[in-house]
Symmetry: C2
């Protein structure tokens, strides 16, 4: 499998999965994983999420931005791992970009709720596999 | 939610999911995630997997045993994170314990194939959530 095919199939996987698995490191340098709603998979390099500012993950990302994002389809045996860094944003444009109908139940004060944060992930490299075939690639 | 309820619901989730998401750290201390077949979820404390000795993950676990295992049901909004350490085993009893029909396609030499390894994960703590309710607990 060539890098171009891996990019194309990987992006297709990103677009069709309901959740993204996000890996972080905790205070004791143990990896942690949490599912996030798959809202804005812009490209293999750039992914956006939203979460509560008060959440454990935001605390972890502020101390250590090293992050990975993983998409998997257990039926087709496909997986895409993206590894890079994540930023916690609270500017108005980022908030508006990620806001969805119904978010009021998580952020009662609306789009300006101080507990509403946006996460912007930037990948440096990735690995896509389908069955026993897999490719590791740089992203730039 | 009490710890006992989290244990019971978490174990139910472990037993019914097809894959377990395993988090490790790579050489640059970035978290990585990979899906493993969910073979032997013995308890919240002890989980067994099998994999290729030559795989990237076995190399990572030998350098840094800090690991997490995550189970998620995207339909019921449940998730279970278990954090601890993992061991790479190749003894005969462990190999026999994890061996399944059809594994010959991954390990052509059978149960004694040098490329067949068993992973034993031991959790120290965990977090179970269901919707907006979640509990973090020690495991001992």
């Amino acid at each position: 499998m060539e890098k171009q095919e891996a990019f194309s199939k990987g992006f297709n996987l990103m677009k069709r999965t309901k959740i993204a698995l996000v890996g972080s490191n905790d205070d004791q340098s143990f990896p942690n994983i949490k599912a996030f709603l798959n809202l804005e998979p812009e490209s293999l390099q750039r992914i956006w999420f939203s979460t509560n500012t008060s959440s454990k993950r935001v605390g972890q990302f502020r101390k250590n931005p090293k992050t990975c994002v993983y998409y998997v389809d257990e039926n087709t045996f496909e997986g895409l791992l993206l590894v890079g860094e994540i930023e916690v944003l609270q500017d108005s444009a980022s908030r508006q970009k990620l806001w969805r109908e119904g978010f009021e139940c998580y952020y009662p004060q609306g789009v300006d709720d101080p507990d509403y944060s946006v996460l912007r992930f930037t990948a440096e490299w990735g690995n896509y596999y389908h069955g026993l075939s897999n490719v590791t690639f740089q992203i730039d």
